[in-house]
Subunit: 460 residues, 2 copies
């Protein structure tokens, strides 16, 4: 294969794809097995021309993809790419260096240190937290939970009855992390939430006090700024003070909403970050850095390294005492050169344009929320928070018991339109539809189109 | 930024870089801080033209990188890219879809299922193991150890004194996985090795028997085919039978050497894989698939899902009963579309050309080993295994006690040449130099150049 020729062709294809993405049906119309049954059971023995492979990509694979970069994307949270990020990914793959140790590519480590300091300052994360790029918030949170577990074990002994705390609105990866770290079901506390679905600090305080009274050891508290279901905001300062009082490891999951901390007027939701033992936020969600790029900020690095550092002979280098070896800051040894795409995005976009995009998305969320508020047939199911609106359709006279099914069917019709993509969740036992704004190119006309589609589907 | 214009320029730069990589000094001549002190302390407020950013890449970053794709790469294990893999990475970034659930891009999941079946057949992994792509062997092994820990807990209760077994030659990520999974130091067994540095099955059997006699529960056994230090080959069948007899989870780490299983005449080293509960191998090492692409094959999927599956409302879909949701097969929720690059490589290269490359590298390893054997001033320190040769220089009359320092200094001179890159390790307490052949473009002349550089450095 001639890489140069094929890569030039592919660049044009990708540029065309991204320019014309709005003309595509956002969700594919396929059933399980539709794609795999078109693929042979064995790898070919002989190499094939790329033209033929790419033709199969266009005919077999592409019709089975969901178009995550469509500006009518309102599902999950958006996971953005962007031109500078794509260039960063291309270059990083071309160089194919490892950022596991300083010595395996000094510039990869030092650019990561620099860009993490840039991000720390942009986000207002206190200086005593040091940053590292990980793949996902799931992995970063698992690392934090394991580090907190180990710290509790070091403090109280391996036989201590350690306890984990998070609200019932925490992301599924948080509870999964606690299970993977080995907490028993009886060591997991689900802290109640208030009317905004935020963790109740008083409930956390009571739970921890009675655990301590019973001889148990509060080990880890995970709070969320911007929950997945409703963008609820746990009170960082109040819960952080309680966690610290009990010596528990305090992890802040700001995977999605963390990007909003670059905007001064949204900073209040993050008040208390100086109490955190670790904070995670994902530029791959709202800042246009290709997935995967999850930033983890760590307070007590010596304690962290006690959990994660283990250096065999073949990884030792003469510089180990003077440098950062990021392999010791997390689970995987091998590490891609992810700082490059982050650097390209920050320099190419500049902080002000990133802030402007987030301000605009938050404005669009409030606008959409005002439409819901202004329509008697709809009900807003949680406060509009950042750029997320939870709502349901409530036709006059329909009984509460019928509303879940009604809204599930409505959501199916909305998605079947192929024009927009939203998903649902359950809040306080009731099914709601989530309107999550955050795709890089989403503008007011896209949000209006979503509202139009919803209205049409209500009437259908 | 005009993505199309800049991406075309970057394609030419990458193509030129890869074509001319042999003209570069393989290791940079930089000291800690040399790169970061050239970078500003803050992200820019305003966006900058890409031309200026890329100029900084060339002037500041590039001189601080290690050229991992240089065909004189003999350090660690190679971590290859290749033309079709680069195209796969470009396209995957451009589409930026998530392969976390079937419904988030059905074709991404089904192409992963298909390519994992292709790989399973190519590698001779038994049909009852099902495959998933993970990021690294470190993560895959941690997943396996956690799954094994949970299985032991389910079988014997949470208070059981569970035990973990691996040889002292296992990769550092194996011991790290056991610690992260929560095994106590007294629950970790280091199984002795034989004269080839392979795990002694009889020693494993004895250790397990005395643990059982003492009321402890053998939980996890990790064996390695192709250890990092010396490519030692643990006896899979013999150890697997012992592990199964005790009901322990049996994980096979073939991260590097696993690629050689696609060659029929190298398959014998993997005999007994049908006993494995999980097997990991990395196409990102020896098969030219860009890092990260680590393949994990799993035996007892229902048990595995008991550990890793946790489905919140916002991830439920109507198809969940009929499809594979790979988010439930590992730690991270978010998952890149990695199957694309694997598919491109397998189809573009074809199985026969991948086999030919591995055969050639193994031949070159044997050739290099024969040079070591034929030179009285050198000593081979382990059997030549796959394409790895461990050796040291032993000048006539030099005392054993002086050899470690002598060879460390020799290795420093070899690397300071800038022409080749090798690393050292310690075998049975003695420092040795590792010659690991595996870079995609490494040919006989590159191996000869390495031997010439070594000889020059001996004389220097």
């Amino acid at each position: 294969m001639n890489f140069r020729t094929e890569a030039h062709r592919l660049v044009d294809w990708i540029a065309d794809y991204l320019e014309s993405i709005e003309s595509r049906r956002i969700l594919p119309d396929v059933k399980p097995g539709d794609i795999s049954r078109q693929l042979p059971a064995h790898a070919p023995e002989e190499g094939e021309p790329f033209e033929r492979i790419f033709a199969d990509f266009e005919q077999v694979i592409l019709p089975g993809l969901v178009h995550w970069q469509h500006p009518n994307w309102f599902a999950y949270f958006a996971s953005n790419n962007s031109p500078p990020s794509l260039l960063g990914e291309m270059l990083s793959s071309g160089l194919a260096v490892h950022a596991m140790s300083w010595v395996t590519s000094p510039a990869a480590t030092e650019l990561e240190q620099t860009t993490m300091e840039w991000m720390r300052r942009l986000l207002g994360v206190p200086e005593h937290l040091k940053g590292v790029i990980q793949d996902t918030a799931s992995t970063a949170t698992l690392s934090a939970v394991i580090a907190g577990r180990d710290a509790a074990w070091r403090r109280s002994g391996r036989d201590a009855d350690i306890v984990f705390y998070a609200s019932n609105e925490a992301h599924s990866s948080v509870l999964k992390a606690a299970r993977l770290a080995g907490f028993r079901p009886d060591q997991l506390r689900s802290v109640p939430t208030d009317e905004t679905l935020a963790m109740r600090a008083d409930a956390l305080a009571n739970m921890m006090a009675s655990d301590v009274a019973a001889g148990r050891v509060p080990a880890v508290v995970v709070v969320t700024v911007g929950s997945t279901s409703s963008a609820a905001i746990d009170p960082v300062r109040a819960t952080g003070e309680i966690a610290r009082r009990h010596g528990a490891f305090f992890h802040v999951d700001a995977a999605w909403a963390g990007s909003a901390a670059i905007v001064p007027e949204f900073r209040a939701a993050f008040d208390g970050l100086e109490l955190a033992d670790s904070v995670v936020m994902n530029p791959h969600k709202w800042l246009g850095v290709n997935f995967d790029c999850s930033l983890l900020f760590i307070r007590d690095l010596p304690a962290w390294l006690e959990t994660f550092s283990l250096t065999p002979e073949y990884l030792k280098s003469a510089h180990d005492a003077d440098v950062v070896n990021y392999r010791d800051w997390g689970i995987p040894l091998g590490r891609r050169f992810r700082a490059l795409k982050l650097w390209f995005v920050l320099r190419s976009e500049g902080a002000e344009s990133l802030r402007a995009r987030i301000r605009e998305h938050v404005r669009l969320g409030e606008l959409f929320g005002s439409w819901v508020n202004g329509d008697a047939a709809f009900e807003r199911m949680a406060p509009v928070s950042f750029a997320l609106v939870c709502f349901r359709h409530r036709p006059a006279g329909m009984a509460e018991a019928a509303l879940d099914d009604h809204n599930r069917r409505l959501l199916d019709r909305i998605n079947a339109s192929g024009k927009v993509h939203l998903i649902g969740t359950v809040l306080r036992g009731r099914f709601v539809i989530r309107m999550a704004i955050g795709q890089r190119n989403t503008a007011e006309r896209n949000v209006r189109e979503a509202w139009d589609v919803i209205q049409q589907c209500v009437r259908a």
